[in-house]
Symmetry: D3
Subunit: 321 residues, 6 copies
Amino acid sequence: MRVVWWNGKLIPESEAKLSIYDSAFMFGDTIFEMTRSFNRIQFKLQEHLERLHRSAMYVRMPFPYTIGELTQACLDVQTVNKFDDSDEHRLMINITRGKLAIYESVEGSASGPNVIISDFPLRWTTQGMGKLFDEGINMVIPSQRAIPALLLDPKVKNRSRLHYLMANIEVAQYKGENNWPLLLDPDGFIAEGTGCNFFIEKDSKIFTPEPRNILRGITRDFVMKLHGNAYEKNLEPYDVYEADGAFVTGTPFCVLPVVSLNGIKIGDGKPGREYRLIMDRFNKHTGVAIKKQIQHWDNGIQGGTTPYQFAWTDSASSISS
Amino acid sequence: MRVVWWNGKLIPESEAKLSIYDSAFMFGDTIFEMTRSFNRIQFKLQEHLERLHRSAMYVRMPFPYTIGELTQACLDVQTVNKFDDSDEHRLMINITRGKLAIYESVEGSASGPNVIISDFPLRWTTQGMGKLFDEGINMVIPSQRAIPALLLDPKVKNRSRLHYLMANIEVAQYKGENNWPLLLDPDGFIAEGTGCNFFIEKDSKIFTPEPRNILRGITRDFVMKLHGNAYEKNLEPYDVYEADGAFVTGTPFCVLPVVSLNGIKIGDGKPGREYRLIMDRFNKHTGVAIKKQIQHWDNGIQGGTTPYQFAWTDSASSISS
Amino acid sequence: MRVVWWNGKLIPESEAKLSIYDSAFMFGDTIFEMTRSFNRIQFKLQEHLERLHRSAMYVRMPFPYTIGELTQACLDVQTVNKFDDSDEHRLMINITRGKLAIYESVEGSASGPNVIISDFPLRWTTQGMGKLFDEGINMVIPSQRAIPALLLDPKVKNRSRLHYLMANIEVAQYKGENNWPLLLDPDGFIAEGTGCNFFIEKDSKIFTPEPRNILRGITRDFVMKLHGNAYEKNLEPYDVYEADGAFVTGTPFCVLPVVSLNGIKIGDGKPGREYRLIMDRFNKHTGVAIKKQIQHWDNGIQGGTTPYQFAWTDSASSISS
Amino acid sequence: MRVVWWNGKLIPESEAKLSIYDSAFMFGDTIFEMTRSFNRIQFKLQEHLERLHRSAMYVRMPFPYTIGELTQACLDVQTVNKFDDSDEHRLMINITRGKLAIYESVEGSASGPNVIISDFPLRWTTQGMGKLFDEGINMVIPSQRAIPALLLDPKVKNRSRLHYLMANIEVAQYKGENNWPLLLDPDGFIAEGTGCNFFIEKDSKIFTPEPRNILRGITRDFVMKLHGNAYEKNLEPYDVYEADGAFVTGTPFCVLPVVSLNGIKIGDGKPGREYRLIMDRFNKHTGVAIKKQIQHWDNGIQGGTTPYQFAWTDSASSISS
Amino acid sequence: MRVVWWNGKLIPESEAKLSIYDSAFMFGDTIFEMTRSFNRIQFKLQEHLERLHRSAMYVRMPFPYTIGELTQACLDVQTVNKFDDSDEHRLMINITRGKLAIYESVEGSASGPNVIISDFPLRWTTQGMGKLFDEGINMVIPSQRAIPALLLDPKVKNRSRLHYLMANIEVAQYKGENNWPLLLDPDGFIAEGTGCNFFIEKDSKIFTPEPRNILRGITRDFVMKLHGNAYEKNLEPYDVYEADGAFVTGTPFCVLPVVSLNGIKIGDGKPGREYRLIMDRFNKHTGVAIKKQIQHWDNGIQGGTTPYQFAWTDSASSISS
Amino acid sequence: MRVVWWNGKLIPESEAKLSIYDSAFMFGDTIFEMTRSFNRIQFKLQEHLERLHRSAMYVRMPFPYTIGELTQACLDVQTVNKFDDSDEHRLMINITRGKLAIYESVEGSASGPNVIISDFPLRWTTQGMGKLFDEGINMVIPSQRAIPALLLDPKVKNRSRLHYLMANIEVAQYKGENNWPLLLDPDGFIAEGTGCNFFIEKDSKIFTPEPRNILRGITRDFVMKLHGNAYEKNLEPYDVYEADGAFVTGTPFCVLPVVSLNGIKIGDGKPGREYRLIMDRFNKHTGVAIKKQIQHWDNGIQGGTTPYQFAWTDSASSISS
């Protein structure tokens, strides 16, 4: 039975519930982070917590613990939730403003902000993504546009995001498989997926939208450094059609290839060269064969001695695929 | 102890909590309505539930009960929560999409949508508003703009509304008392408050923004009918300064006078003639002396035999004030 | 063999071709009208030609014939192209600016504007639409927006309309049947289909977008008069979901019911009451059972004595369906 | 008599005509390229054909030949159309989607896409431009704005461009000589001329608008490389007034100086230093004295032994002028 | 020698000068009104002063006199400036915020707001307009757009209007005579001239832009009442080309016909029927033959016994012209 | 008694007044520059006059003197206005278009443009700013947006700027001290203060908005060079919250630290490291201890031997503070 860290206490996951009078529920008034481990070690936790702090500052959310304390809390909850070696820990760190003042007298939940760290198997999030490493994603531009920073800044990782869900639903109505939404901002520039950042490959360089109407993803930043020849730029659909390849980045799956936009092939319609290069380096850096791991989970392979521990042979196969 | 109606069951209010894995929490993915009673009889309940149904349709939220069933549920919860005669019932009716599919295996909360009806004393919501009936509100236009319908339609009463909270916080930084935010839309037209609709008075007519980038309030509609000489129109700050008076409408307080915009007096800087006319008719229609009721609550006057039952003398005093 | 009227001469349709150096081809620089007959009598020909004249004036296209002369030309071409009684004449009237000046010396086409009237069986245009009278259309809002009047006025019926085709292609990628695109303008207001005007029904009234970022359809105007309780208004998707019914108008098919938007049912998901009312009156007015005619064509029924001549029984069946 | 290459066949230019039922005519649904030769050798043909392919992909136009085949076709048509040595070959390569499906039965034109390569003397296009090399152009900003990429991407070289013609007409109403339109995009940034890209000179650098709401000209790219100190940047009218010089690029004339904007002198109101530098290099690169060639054509000088063959003396005179 | 009323004193016009340290000069921080007389009686003075008061309120300008006091001041200044009977009084009423606080110690001008009423012959303003009553104006849409109310509200009659001057200069560059600028707002709707409101005539009705991004002219309001069949509506260039006629309104000239837009004739290209109707009624209402008066001034006819006193024969001739 | 240079003549400051019929007053039609001296030597005078010339060109203002002549005029006026050694000269250089043509006959002011150079103690402008060097400014984002360059280019230093004053007034309504407005442009990017340019500090670099919807400040340019690691970039409020520090630049005060935005601390809420570095270099470059000078003025310390002459000890104390 998993536990959740709630304002300093570890409680059973089944009791990790929020009052319906909490500002989180009332206004989408939560800031949050979601992380993952590689071989049970949290990745970029410091960066995630610092972003959480910036989000808090922006929306004037109380931030009742130091980053050091939150780091410790993450370790604590993960230690208690001892997972099988074939699993990884996905942490979800939320801060809510707490019960609205007018509901003060409602029983059963304390006043003030709620800092909540839950921890569950990463495979829940990645389910069904295994095949995408090989088949690639078809990004689809829906009618739904990104809300620009002037109105509600997506750089603040918050939970007032019904429009993301609307985009997901819209794209589910398209024919075909492996469709993910790619939002344009109101100016027509590519913004982001509804849970990932977008890159194109061109002439051995990689390009990703200017960090304006998007979440500035931590994997996005890491991939730019991993690759070394990465640029932020306003991108439009035309640029994608002209590209050699494309991919998306996100914490749970790290990097996934994009092979078409609106059903039109990008490059040769296969995972791109830079994507494979990055994936290779990502594997090496983390010591996990990421694609293999997620595909194993999808195949229901569990236990054993971490069959997707990264090995040098993975790299080669990745490049040759 | 109050109860809450949850998917057909009555549970203690202290147990009315939502999983942190619910879509409501994750995306601000809740549609809702909030109602009030007059003399313990729910007002415009049918209209609220129909709007709830339209919201559900728009965001493709499951709607697992008929409007008839929900009406009955509202009555049921209110019957159990027998309030003192000096109280009114404020119902909060929420529908969430339920736990996200990937969290299926989390224990302690069932799958599927949650329909939740809670019921609490209206005085919680109206606290501190009593003096506004006499002093009037100073609306302040913050830098925060309304999100236009193209991006996330405010006509759908949803809980992805962090920007409302941002506007509230911004306006709290202004000097002076009784400041409420008044949002402009990106075109510069007046949209709405962060929980009320806005009207101006001019030459014995009343005008309210076109029903585009606003919630189409049920009190707004009712007030337009009560008054009889009401028009929807694009309004700008200039129109407000040129007006004879102004007011806001909202379910809990019904109507409140607005006496200035950005600190600049509207008309003679007192509650306007049409406001008082409407308030008078509202009192008569509902049988409750609304201002007196809310002021009594603010003064901590409780119990007795409903001291703010509307009487014909209230009307006169209202007009002469 | 059909003939085409070209600058005053009747030529075989197979020779009705335009130089690749014509401004029409170079810039989409054509203005045009498309009409239809009822029982071989052209409908609203005067209105079409007057709109053609306004289009010419707006884009400063030469207009070398009077409206009277063009009317006669339409009659002439139709007289020569004697169709079977089961057919109707669809006229296409184009004006192009002619060969660009720099291509003056190219042989095989004269200089100056080309006025071209072609005439072909209406059934070509309506093919496959027969079932839509019963099943209704599912309008789909694509990512492609209408080009607003400020940039290129759609009220001018011109042939610089690649974006219409782009919208058609985009909507073809949606799942399901009977999908037609419905364009929003950049403000998020409903504009038009890519060949039809859009209406909603509400409380026995009909509403259609303000005549701003749309073609001001001649059938649109006629239907507003036929119905009698029609209004121009900014419409948004929310308004459609709230409507009792919806339909589109266009010259070839006159009126077709819309039963859903983005797959979400409008009203009861069946052709609406006002639609049926209008169709009934349209039949009477024109003396043609429009739906029956188009369905017969789709069924390959031809010849005979005009089996879809309107009869009073058609009206009744229309209402009861 | 010139010939035209049409879907693999060479036909007389006078027969190169398109059905009035072709999608090209109906929707401005053509993609195209226009090239030129230097000393009868096509320039950047590969780049033009690759851009044609990207345009096709974007608008989902069939592309029934390989780039290699099209290259051969261009050579073929040019070989047949043997021009005088004083002439250059201007190729126009179009692809149309072909007759709309509903017009299938119209005789006289086959179904499916039309790939059309015509070839005519470049002097047709450049007529009257000769003096501009010395006098310079006065760019004028009309009320007509560029259509932004979000609505119809100008990076796709298509023929749905009535707004270009509207801009041309508007600017023809200005007083004075040598006026060419310079379109702003809706954000107020300089986009392009209606057939050329725009550059400014400043401190020995050259700047041209970001490649967003413009055609990404092949001459534009070549000039950036020729110069070596070239940058893409958002440009506004203020930047032009502050510049040392300005020029435009385009396939037929290569580079032309701009000496004023809206009648206000740029720099000293003469062709700028960078312009002259580029022109000099362009002459050398192509082996043609471009200005001299075009001026000779304008002067009706023809035949002889290519009097505008580039010579080293041209360069010097160019710099000293 | 004319006098000017300045904060309650009458001073010679030649001394009516403002410190270069006045906020008026520093920021365009003046609000103002300009009026005219008919037969030496000020027209709509009350309405002008009330608008001045609203402007003051909006920009938080001190308003140190009552409207009654200002009315008297206007009369006083006009009484002293006794004009010839062939003249009319044009009043210019300005309020400035006064010397900026930091320039307090500059000598030669008092602190605090300046209320300034000057008075000069109307013929100064109307010079050269006489022929326009017969020839009509050609409105030209410049690239310069109106600044929308959201950014700086034109409904506040203020002197921060450099963009009006820019529009005037731009239109002066067009070919032809009688060109006046007609500003579009950023949405593409017709706003206003740079000193007049715009109307079109259609089917015996008159239409003028919604009172949003314009000055709400007092003559505009008066003309709407005079005509009786007047409507406020979003208007676009297309609507003008479709109109039967057009005209502009403004205090000094009252009403002037518009006969073309961008050189394209409106209706039959002559002053419209509604224009003539309004002019006729305006003459009768004011007792002045407005056109005749202004034309006389332009012809240098002066003195005598008010030769342009309105007579019933003027009306007839007006209608028959 | 100070003098003012007016079209070549020196006149007493008390007589430096402008006719109320001047275009400057009528339209905010003035272009201007304001400079300062360091130790009585004008700073960057050439740059200011060159910008003045560009402004004149843009708005087509006459520019009747050469830059050399204006430089001399500045020296002349300063020479006559011999200030105490504890003072600095602030020059204000204005050009107005002069009396509008229709007011030609008004006496007391000549026709044609007015070039006006006034000269007053800098301490007038900096009064009250002394404490800001230590306490820092709280920038506040008002509802008022910057007018974008498309509508009225702020790069032209003109006096049609009522909206700046509106922003000042709006921010004066906020709680707290040291509030200065920071305008966003309509896209939500940070533009400028109402008299200063804005910078953030991040990782030892400094960033300032792209020079689009701002005045391109001369101090801004100088500070970028002084620092050496400076970049132009679109900035949003989020970027400010993420920054290490912030500051503003302006001619009179040179550089002032910004310690919070909307009341939210930037970095540690103290003047930033880069700010202090720049201030140190600025002091050295100009030979004036800028902060000390302004604080002395605020403290009323006057005369003596220039107590705020820069000394090397100032630098040290600046860094250690």
